[in-house]
């Protein structure tokens, strides 16, 4: 059974996320977001090895091109 996040906790989470002025209704929306995020996190694969690195692509500036 999913535990509901308390309103104090929702306020703390919202403030930490840079959203200190959410209304009660908006905090309730954030509560739904937390439940949904937990569900999504549970669907991420458990076998991602540390060697599976991000596919970051850097493009070095060509000669004469501003970086």
């Amino acid at each position: 059974m999913e535990q509901e996040t308390s309103s104090d906790d929702l306020n703390r989470i919202a403030t930490a996320a840079g959203l200190p002025r959410l209304s009660d209704r908006q905090l309730a929306q954030l509560g739904k977001s937390l439940a949904s995020a937990r569900e999504l996190a549970g669907k991420l694969p458990k076998d991602l090895h540390w060697s599976e690195e991000l596919a970051l692509t850097f493009r070095l500036p060509a000669a004469g091109e501003a970086p």
């Binding site: 989470i13 919202a14 996320a17 840079g18 959203l19 200190p20 002025r21 959410l22 209304s23 908006q26 929306q29 954030l30 739904k32 977001s33 937390l34 949904s36 995020a37 999504l40 996190a41 669907k43 991420l44 694969p45 991602l48 599976e52 690195e53 991000l54 596919a55």
Partner: protein
């Protein structure tokens, strides 16, 4: 000619070039059609008749003087309202940006302007391309002309509706999790999400940087290739823009499918999700038809749909929140309920989960491209279901995740949605074709062969009397 609203880009361009159709006549006729129909369908947020007529007069003069610039010269189009057009507001269908006047053109807008296209106005979208369909915004949502009061798909909903209603022959949309292909599927038109990096996103409000694409929307495959030709190309001001050669996207249109290998991703709509029976049958019939036309069709397997969906949803949430968090902190009340909920979702995802979603993306991309070895194009579902009523919020919420478009936002491959028939209620069915990166011409080749062998693209919403103008 009785009704110019029926004309696509290619047909209209030939007439305009040959002096048989005046851009001014075409533009005026479409403006009149918008004026008559848009009270009902809400495709447009803003129509711009005076500048459109002025541009049409200029195009007419230029073409008359022998300076025809190409197939878009003198041809009307419209833009999803997250794409900048200098001097007009880019609202994203949101109260937040109601006074946001664009100071310059988006790259794609500048391309269309240089090609001599005639801009008719800005089109409805889901709020910030994420929150819709919604009834708590400054403008109503667009309504699908197929069906009584149905959802047209989104977020490029106005683009799909304007095309299906014959208000424009060309429109641009954007696609982060399927937003060009969803309205294309529900409105029975053609929508292409090109390869990631193929079309610049400069001057387009972002939803999620690493998944955002701008794409052409038209009524036919040939028109789609023509429109992509105008907007594709490297742009150093877009960090995601690819520095690759631009092929002739129309080059293979008449090539047929004989000798091509088509991979059918059937498990997406029969195992991972169970599509509506009529939609599923339409896809199987499309595979059979391509086989009858000479293609070698065989089933291929990709990762389960849910893996791609998890990956996409986490990335969109986080990137969208990063873009919106300052507005959300200061003006949370100015968002509609749906957009606020979906953007707030990003505040709840941990950094570790976001990084893992990115690592999953790399894995899925590698696996998907491996599965494409030996095939030219893949065929699968776009939507699992036909459109639902737009006033049924629960049905709309249920419908949205029942789709197979997100995998190709994850991998960045080109993916096109097009008509594949109609169900017993007359609502559009659709299919999706996917190619190798930067091989849009091959996707168009298969799409054009299927389009020629069917008449779906020639059908129009029954009560619009499109031919009567």
């Amino acid at each position: 000619m009785n009704d110019v609203s029926e004309l696509g880009i290619a047909e209209a361009a030939e007439l305009v070039r040959g002096g048989k159709l005046s851009p001014l006549t075409l533009t005026a006729a479409l403006l009149e059609r918008i004026d008559r129909l848009d009270k009902r369908f809400h495709a447009f947020i803003r129509v711009t008749p005076e500048p459109a007529l002025a541009a049409a007069r200029e195009a007419e003069r230029d073409i008359g003087a022998g300076n025809w610039r190409g197939p878009l010269h003198g041809i009307p189009f419209a833009l999803k309202d997250i794409i900048d057009w200098a001097g007009l507001p880019t609202t994203a269908h949101s109260k937040l940006l109601i006074d946001n006047i664009a100071s310059s053109d988006a790259h794609v807008s500048a391309r269309l302007k240089a090609a001599g296209g005639i801009m008719l106005g800005k089109l409805a979208t889901h709020e910030f391309a994420i929150g819709g369909p919604s009834f708590d915004l400054p403008w109503p949502p667009a309504i699908n002309p197929w069906g009584g009061n149905h959802f047209p798909g989104g977020s490029s909903s106005g683009s799909g509706v304007a095309l299906a209603c014959g208000m424009v022959p060309a429109a641009l949309g954007t696609d982060t999790g399927g937003s060009v292909r969803n309205p294309a599927s529900m409105c029975s038109i053609v929508g292409m999400k090109p390869t990631y990096g193929r079309v610049s996103r400069r001057g387009v409000l972002p939803l999620a940087y690493s998944l955002d694409h701008v794409g052409p929307m038209t009524r036919t495959v040939r028109d789609n290739a023509l429109l992509l030709q105008v907007i594709a190309g490297h742009d150093r001001a877009d960090p995601g823009s690819a520095e690759v050669d631009i092929e002739d996207f129309s080059a293979e249109l008449d090539g047929g499918v004989r000798g091509l290998s088509i991979g059918l991703v059937r498990h997406f709509y029969t195992e991972d999700m169970t599509a509506d029976p009529e939609q599923s049958a339409a896809l199987d019939r499309a595979a059979e038809l391509l086989g009858e036309l000479g293609a070698e069709v065989r089933e291929i397997r990709l990762a389960p749909l849910e893996d791609y969906a998890t990956c996409t949803r986490i990335i969109i949430r986080c990137e969208a929140f990063a873009i919106h968090r300052r507005w959300l902190a200061e003006r949370a009340d100015d968002y509609g309920e749906l957009a606020r909920q979906r953007i707030l979702d990003g505040a709840a995802v941990s950094a570790a989960d976001y990084i893992d979603a990115l690592r999953l993306r790399a894995r899925l991309t590698r696996q998907t491209l491996q599965a494409f070895a030996g095939i030219d194009v893949a065929l699968t579902a776009s939507n699992m279901d036909p459109a639902c009523r737009i006033d049924d919020a629960e049905a709309c919420a249920r419908l949205y995740p029942r789709q197979a478009r997100q995998p190709f936002n994850v991998t960045g491959q080109p993916a096109l949605a097009m008509p594949a028939g109609f169900n017993r209620d007359g609502l559009p069915l659709s299919l999706q074709l996917i190619g190798h990166p930067f091989q849009e011409a091959r996707v168009y080749r298969v799409a054009a062969a299927y389009e020629r062998a069917t008449d779906w693209s020639r059908r129009r919403p029954p009560d619009l009397a499109i031919r009567a103008g």
